[in-house]
Symmetry: C2
Subunit: 704 residues, 2 copies
């Protein structure tokens, strides 16, 4: 699930556990390690994990700050994750002579292991319930603002004390939308070295056509080693390697850090998502994909320039297609309706909670306001001002406008007290702001002009060509002529110029002129207004959701799992296939299927095999299981999570969900939704027979 994980989370909220299928009890839930689903496991699988079993799996699990999961798989600090989780690292190693992302990597000896910049791994050491202490900071009679402030202070105090006392990274995690506060303590590893990576071609074999699909043939893995004091770290809790992989219908467990789920959304908000928001973003991704594909088709150079954008847009298009298909499935919708009705009935029955009913209407009204404001907000401002792959607001796409806006706002906001600034300009965000602003990422005039022309055209189409703001933005020119003028006229391509502008005060900036800066100023008023309106409604929703969640918590207590919060969770599921269009999809693929797929496509991209795989075919046991599916409850952020069996042995690694799993954002279903993993058997077979990495394979298998 490349890009499946987003760095920006909404608040977590308590959810009801209702499976869509009536079949037995479903394998639902992303359970905190201090509240594991012992009852469910015992009832359905007659399996009772011991505290030691849980503690071992918890401490063998690793969170990647780059947005994924992994696990320890040797006593000497080997950590396995997905190739796509490590992609950023692999890219950064590259130079003129080396392209590790494309070609893969293997360090035969420890001295060849390559240290990563920026990579931090966290291992969860302990969880402590600090709800009482956080809540005790709030005194009766406090305004809601004062209460929030008091809570924030209490949390900061707890984190500080814990850090000082233990030396561990200490985060207070808000669970159940404020129903509970838990202190998570992590051991940090920041000396992480690359040991092994496959070629991207086999990690992402099948490219966009196979992304989110099954059957699948991807060796999406990458292996690191953590060091302490310059030596391989000694790891007590690592997963023993099982070289056979799992069997059909075997019970397996997934231990990782799912990023974010939205299983608390009201039907009204989900209807708006289904009928307005998803069609809107899909139109946008379709438009971009066509633009980037037709540009890419014109030359190899173009294809290179548009590659990352195209990859992201295709991935998102497919992902939202899948989500929409889920919401349009009446079975899913019935389950969502039943979930909400059950809660609303319980609320209505309880006189102390009855007032909460109004929260549903507040959400509905706020969502209607958000919908009304959406065109202006989306075209001029957009949701996430700084995030990976952000390309400016929809009307003004491109890196150059993005820089212009960040610069004028940085100067404007700097003059305000820290607390009054919009979040991406607060002191705490300065580092990532500057990283973004002073990036040396290359800027291609032709590609900037293409994107800006298209987005200005889109803007004129959305609001009509004679809309006053459209006319001001176009300044009497056609979209193309205006884009050419802006892109060739601005000086913002030069990092030094951006640094210089960033250093100006408000007065100096006002006297400064650059076509792109002037344009950013021109739209800043309406853009900020649209954002204010959006934020105001989001705040109303947040409070209403919190009220509903608290009512829910009052009714059910912590007998269910909280929404995902990029903290460690335990999921479980059965290895099993599913039915699609009357056809049974088997749970396993094998190496023979990989070669067959390549033949069926004349070995043409994206179904071409790395040369090594062609050369070494005869060495391989082609019946080796390659990928498999299970019905475990996962989501973006689970990428790289270990799959273990009841003996706590490593039998596979999660790397994707199928297209039917994309609805797991808002509700669990196990009818067709499946988590997709690489089989541990395939990893060992490939390491030995394709990559000649027997030293590494020996280390992995040594503790069998």
């Amino acid at each position: 699930m490349p890009n499946g994980f987003r760095r920006f989370f909404l608040g977590p909220v308590f959810v009801l556990a209702i499976a869509i299928d009536a079949s037995a009890v479903a394998d639902e839930g992303m359970w905190p390690f201090n509240a594991p689903p012992l009852k469910q496991l015992k009832e359905k699988y007659q399996f009772e994990p011991t505290p030691q079993w849980l503690d071992h799996l918890q401490k063998a699990s690793v969170r990647f700050n780059s947005g994924g999961s992994g696990s320890f798989v040797s006593a000497n600090g080997l950590v396995i994750t997905n190739h796509h989780v490590a992609a950023d690292c692999l890219q950064k190693f590259g130079d003129e002579q080396h392209n590790y992302l494309r070609d893969g990597f293997y360090a035969k000896t420890q001295s060849e292991e390559k240290k990563c910049v920026d990579l931090e791994l966290n291992v969860l050491e302990s969880i402590e319930d600090v709800t009482a202490r956080v809540n005790s900071a709030v005194k009766s009679g406090m305004s809601s603002d004062a209460a929030a402030g008091a809570r924030r202070n209490a949390i900061a105090q707890i984190e500080k004390e814990s850090k000082e006392k233990t030396g561990l990274r200490s985060d207070v995690v808000t669970l159940y939308q404020g129903g509970a506060y838990h202190l998570y303590r992590y051991k940090r590893y920041d000396d992480v070295r690359l040991v092994f990576a496959t070629e991207q071609q086999i990690a992402f074999y099948g490219g966009d056509p196979d992304n989110f699909e099954y059957p699948r043939f991807d060796l999406d893995i990458c292996i690191f080693r953590v060091y302490e004091n310059g030596q391989p770290a000694k790891i007590d809790n690592f997963l023993k390697w099982n070289s056979r992989g799992p069997s059909n219908v075997e019970l397996t467990f997934v231990s990782g850090s799912p990023g974010k789920t939205d299983r608390q959304l009201t039907l009204d908000e989900l209807a708006d998502t289904r009928d307005r928001y998803l069609p809107y973003v899909l139109r946008m991704f379709n438009r971009r994909e066509v633009l980037e594909l037709s540009y890419s088709a014109r030359s190899f150079g173009n294809a290179r320039k548009a590659r990352d954008d195209l990859f992201g847009d295709q991935n998102n298009r497919k992902r939202y297609d899948g989500y929409l298909a889920g919401l349009l499935d009446p079975q899913t919708w019935s389950a969502l309706t039943a979930r909400e009705q059950k809660l609303r009935d319980a609320i209505a029955r309880d006189p102390k909670l009855r007032s909460t009913t109004a929260a549903y209407d507040r959400i509905k009204n706020a969502q209607a306001e958000i919908a009304k404001n959406a065109p202006l907000y989306n075209y001029l401002e957009q949701e996430r001002p700084i995030t990976i792959g952000y390309r400016g607001p929809r009307a003004l796409s491109g890196n150059l406008f993005k820089y212009a806006r960040l610069l004028i706002r940085a100067v404007d906001e700097r003059a305000k007290p820290n607390g009054e600034r919009i979040p991406e300009f607060r002191d705490s965000a300065r580092e990532s702001l500057e990283l973004e602003l002073f990036s040396t990422e290359p800027i291609y005039d032709d590609y900037e002009i293409l994107r800006l022309t298209d987005s200005l055209t889109d803007f004129a189409s959305q609001f009509a060509a004679n809309d006053p703001l459209v006319q001001k933005v176009l300044a009497g020119k056609s979209p193309h002529a205006r884009a050419v003028e802006l892109v060739t006229g601005t000086k913002l391509k030069d990092v030094a110029v951006r640094k210089d502008i960033y250093g100006k005060d408000a007065a100096a900036l006002q006297a400064f002129h650059d076509p792109m800066i002037d344009l950013a100023r021109l739209v800043d008023g309406p853009a900020r207004d649209a954002r204010k309106r959006y934020d105001a409604q989001e705040e109303i929703k947040k409070q209403a959701y919190s009220e509903i969640a608290k009512a829910h918590f009052a009714i059910e207590g912590a007998s269910s799992y909280p929404d995902a919060t990029f903290t460690l969770r335990l999921s479980y599921g059965t290895v099993r296939g599913y039915e699609q269009d009357g056809k049974q999809i088997p749970p396993f693929t094998d190496f023979a299927g990989l070669y067959q797929r390549s033949v069926e496509h004349d070995n043409k991209s994206p179904f071409d095999l790395p040369q090594r795989w062609i050369d070494k075919k005869a060495n391989l046991n082609l019946a080796t299981h390659f990928n498999f599916v299970s019905d475990a409850d996962i989501i973006g952020g689970n990428s790289g999570s270990p799959v273990v069996n009841k003996a706590n042995e490593f039998v596979g690694i999660i790397f994707d969900g199928n297209i039917q799993s994309l609805v797991l954002d808002c509700i669990f279903t196990d009818k067709q939704a499946r988590a997709v993993s690489v089989d541990s058997a395939a990893i060992i077979e490939a390491l030995r027979k394709v990559y000649g990495a027997s030293g590494l394979a020996d280390e992995l298998e040594s503790a069998k």
Copy 2:
């Protein structure tokens, strides 16, 4: 300009000749041969074509009933046109062993020349003004219905008399939206045989990326021979071949049959086209292109199935992109505004015409009603019920639904008197209806399911999932499940079943059930209602446009050219390059550029060369001009038109317009809009050096 020509025309309307550029007098106009632009040619070019010159060019010009143009180029009946105009023919020749469309064709001897089915060529013999006779049929005091009927009768009578008297095909053409009626008499050729075709790969070299672009490298030609009484026809008026091609800034002429222009549209309608209609169709084409590309990427088999649809959708996407870009250019819009203002001022000044002003408001109001009705109309009914590549209404895409609707409507409409039926079910259309209905075109379940799933999803997104009609159509299922049920459940894949249903009477049909037939019945009421509303507003517009055109004609007379009507027209223009993004685009390309382009793209599709072109490279004079551009006024239907010099020699053949020419639909501009031609020099060089077709080349060059 593949697909650039449409078979369905609106009525022709008088237009004002206003060039966008102020530079000298522009080379504007598609002039009837009985009203050539003598004054303009004399003033700007000091060239005075004689009546003989014009008569020769007229009779050397050929109209293809498949929707394009061509010309005689030898005394023995050789006719040259575009490969893409002949594509349908070439396809029909194919069998298991032969794919002439892909591989090309050359008949070394006359006995090898292959006779085409269905191809009819028309040569314009004479034009006669019959306006007075047509108008005299209308007596004062007649209702407008009666007047229209009287005119229709008069026209039918004139055509019949002429046919009987001369034996020639005789068509009365309505020009200037009823300002004039001219009788066109054609000699018909229906024994047309294929002599030579290039490979599609070189005819459409560069595929979608190069479509509508320049510089260009396409040998888009195909050569036929017409026969009479089983012998090659003896042709008096054929174009002498000029083997050098044209020079830079040379005056050239284009003689062909442009299909349809809309240069009479009011600003209100154009604003709706720009702000609503074009964005709407572009969203649709983007959506389809992504669907077809992602499906195609999954297997070669898929790519084959989706190939034609993808080609059409990419072509349309690019075409409408170009048109929208033109309408968003303020220079174009100013020219459109000036054109309308000039006419409205003249109308306002003339007391007899002043009442016509109200016609503008009627168009504006009707267009607003059309816009309001558009979602229902587009999703349930769509504009063109039977046309090439029609794939059903937007909500219910696919061949199977299309058949179901045609069947139930054919039975329903048959019960009505002929004149009361909707047009595609009148007796005159029976043949094409049955051709469509009983087509043996293969139907692929998976592809039908894909398209139907996507269009049902689109339908639910457009009207919201809980819309009553959406719910009825989906019948409690997800779009995918419903599509699977319909496609696998219907019997309409079987031509015999369609024939059987077609033969039923209304009562028998009512008793008959099939999932797709039942669905077609379910939506037929709302679909027909939407169509009625649309047709009513179109009729209001038609009458209002006719009123404006008559006022215009009263003011200006026939001193300008009428809108295109797929009748023979003379355009003229200078061979010249243009400026794009500050870069000068030269007027000519050459063979060297073709090979260079192939190298730049590693000879990968769509930039791969046919093997023959690789093998024969050393034979070629690489400096030979390949394609060239001129500023002549052309549009779809002009494909295949000969380009001649002042000596009436064949110097090239039109095959495309650049992207900036797409706005020529509604207004002429010569700033960047260019007609793109194959150079006569390239044709001879390729015939001799690549195809070894020296016999054919000798015949072409023999009359030099």
